[in-house]
Symmetry: C2
Subunit: 466 residues, 2 copies
């Protein structure tokens, strides 16, 4: 067997995979094929670039093509789009728009698919109108920046109140734009626990954002080819432009055509070694479904760290043991394979002055999965009560009635709230019961926490309720 690892996609997962493959075995030939002109940039920073918090787009770019080539020895090819995968010949069809050589064949010994995801685009009456934006790639961000800079819009409708929708809401407010948020579901940010939800909603209102829940978008109306109104089942809303932020879907068309098994969300199914069902084909990042640590089920949770982590495993495992052919989902792992421990869906976001965090299962997840659970919410402070500023924190814990183990947590609060999610993430990784959690020795000093940290208080309340 040869020594060539080819990676499709040069963002978080792809470049993590390529870098790790080179780290594991510097002798390998590692090729990365990227259809856009960009590699390795901070997608999570884009809302803040649009809002002007990050003043220069260059800051989002972590690694240049030159540095990837020269310092890491990775053969990165931008503007090289993969148009076909032949898993029998172990060969890709690539169209090179960078050098002008056009279509060529790229053989691989091992392949890592890190094609990421794309924005969902609504197909509604009026969808063809101008000034309906999406945000997934850097070009999207630049398009929005250019539009705002040149057109000075006054009103936007953000469709979808997920993480990106709300981060964009904040940043569009920074730019002085009136924002209406339209969300089909009864809650913002997915399945959000009621007390946490209330905190987020009130922060949005405090910042002059109109939030319309359980509202369905039916189409757009415009004039001169440009969008003017968003038509909903609760009436029309005026808009100088629209941000459709209704989720992303895995970019897996090519993989699916090549016979790679896709899951219920159309993400690539990988085992804990990031192997697909096809020999020598690995996958990671926003195109893959991965195992949830708490529930054990395969989930589609496209988050930056999951992409970085998964990419590293895929790159590692693609690189080691290249001498054995035919290594796929279900085969015994090779020596040196790294086992991915799964995801907890750990996520934090800043919504104006409120820090929001989630980890593990929501009560909706827990119900769907058949857990007999209890949840409890506490309201406490992120700092000592006598500290001059001691912001509120609302923390909901969800625990299994039978095993008394924590299943998940959600919080919203002021400065210092968010990082409590990491503390809770470690408890979930270790399958701790709420009885164990309430007895932990967490650090205390007045500027950082009350003497009983909110995590300890909440665990105590749940334990009592159980």
């Amino acid at each position: 067997m040869g020594n060539r690892v080819v990676v499709i996609g040069a963002n978080a997962a792809g470049m993590s995979a390529a870098s790790q493959a080179k780290r594991v075995n510097p002798e390998l030939e590692v090729v990365v094929l990227e259809k856009s002109p960009y590699i390795s940039y901070g997608e999570c920073g884009m809302p803040y670039y649009i809002g002007g918090i990050i003043d220069n787009a260059k800051k989002l770019f972590v690694l240049s093509v030159e540095a990837a080539r020269e310092k890491r020895g990775i053969d990165v090819r931008i503007n090289n789009e993969v148009t076909g995968i032949d898993v029998n010949k172990k060969e890709l069809t690539v169209v090179d728009r960078e050098t002008g050589r056009g279509e060529y064949k790229q053989p691989y010994d091992r392949l890592v698919i890190a094609t990421g995801a794309r924005s969902v685009r609504l197909k509604l009456p009026g969808s063809e109108l101008e000034n309906i934006f999406h945000l997934k790639f850097f070009d999207d961000a630049q398009r929005i920046v250019n539009f705002i800079d040149s057109e000075k819009p006054k009103r936007v409708v953000v469709i979808g109140a997920g993480y990106i929708g709300l981060e964009m809401t904040e940043n569009l407010r920074h730019r002085g734009i009136e924002v209406s948020v339209v969300e089909m579901l009864p809650t913002v940010m997915g399945a959000t626990e009621p007390d946490v939800h209330e905190v987020i909603l009130s922060e949005l209102k405090r910042n002059g954002v109109e939030v319309m829940l359980e509202t369905r978008v039916e189409g757009y109306r415009g004039s001169d080819g440009r969008v003017r109104y968003v038509v909903t089942d609760r009436g029309e809303i005026e808009a100088d432009f629209v941000l459709e932020s209704v989720g992303i879907v895995p970019e897996t068309t090519l993989a699916g055509e090549a016979g790679v098994r896709l899951g219920s969300k159309r993400g690539i199914v990988v085992d804990e070694y990031m192997r697909t069902n096809i020999s020598d084909v690995f996958s990671a990042g926003d195109c893959a479904e991965i195992r949830h640590v708490v529930s054990g089920e395969y989930v589609y949770i496209p988050l930056a760290l999951n992409a970085n982590r998964g990419g590293r495993y895929a790159g590692n495992n693609a690189a080691v043991g290249l001498s054995r052919g035919g290594d796929k989902f279900g085969d015994a792992p090779l020596e040196g394979y790294m086992k991915f421990p799964g995801t907890l869906g750990s996520a934090v976001a800043k919504i104006f002055d409120v820090e929001v965090g989630k980890v593990g299962l929501s009560s909706v997840d827990a119900g769907r999965l058949g857990y007999d659970f209890v949840s409890a919410t506490i309201k406490s402070k992120t700092k000592a009560g006598y500290w001059p500023k001691h912001p509120d924190i609302t923390l909901t814990l969800i625990a299994d009635r039978k095993t008394r183990k924590l299943l998940g947590a959600q919080l919203a609060g002021g400065s210092g709230a968010a990082l409590r999610i990491d503390t809770l993430a470690v408890t979930l990784f270790n399958g701790m019961t709420v009885d164990e959690i309430k007895e932990m020795d967490l650090a205390y000093a007045p500027p950082f926490a009350p003497s009983w940290d909110p995590v300890l208080i909440a665990a105590g309340v749940v334990a009592k309720k159980l």
Copy 2:
């Protein structure tokens, strides 16, 4: 057996014990004897009261005597000093200076000793001079505030660069006072890892604080009965007043005289149920030595949360199973006893704009205990590199070469650094290896962390080094 629990001491441990005893069994008679006029106040807030950050002393007082009596049903008696413990008669000798009844006998069925600690006072030539202060109790704090308000001192020498010494240094600078810190040891804040130490020292210098390490105080010189110079083995330092902050020792004279077993630091030795060697005598808080989660050894780590936690266990276990007599260190635990999981010495402190944290063993501890360990330090950021403010964080991890388990961690950094100690505390509670730690799913968003949290990066570096 009766139903009276008596607690000596009405601060963190004592009032936690009393409250928990009442919670467990509201029928109990719970008496708390406190020699000072104060109960339940935030000692950790006192430096900030002195510095004017906390504007009103009343904010430090968490619970009034009236509330303790009326809402919690606890018979709190302030200005009641215990002068003797007779463990055979199960009776205390108490001097009541509150009501004027003088000495009386107070019988108990179960006793919780929560006598706390007192400041070490240097005995040196000139120690009798005025304006040499200590800080342990509220009266100490008020004395310092009164002195600064009335005398407007310009220069202070702080002797001892522990947590309190440095928090006081910051707060005295807030009051516009020039501060010299004299420390006998080569490091501030005890056994601090070199890279973390460097960050703290440079923050102190940046704030105009003179730090003299490895400097021994030999005495004081004064005029008109007031201190004027601190005499050290490196020369004399001018001072309008002095803060001796050279540590605290457990207040265990009475307990020792009564036959309660003391440990190597003269703290009361308790088992994991907070029982002493004497039947029906429990102890918790700054007067007790407790088990360290990592090393298993008995340690004297007087911290607020340990006092709150330990007090709760002592109160719980004193209250349950009162029907059985003679329950002491080593006896089988009774039904309903809560087992104290021990301490990790989790501690954080703000030193000007730097957040400092420690948890678990230092490399000095690890060496002394005979671990074959490695340590590694990383320098990273507390937020994404493209976030407008992304403060530095320096994080040192110490791991066991044989088991690859984390043994301890220390950090210093800007805003957002400190709470990482809690994340690491949970890993230590669970005995996680650095290989496991580096694979955790921690939450990421640009305002809160780099996409690879410093904790993950540091664990990866240690794992590689192992």
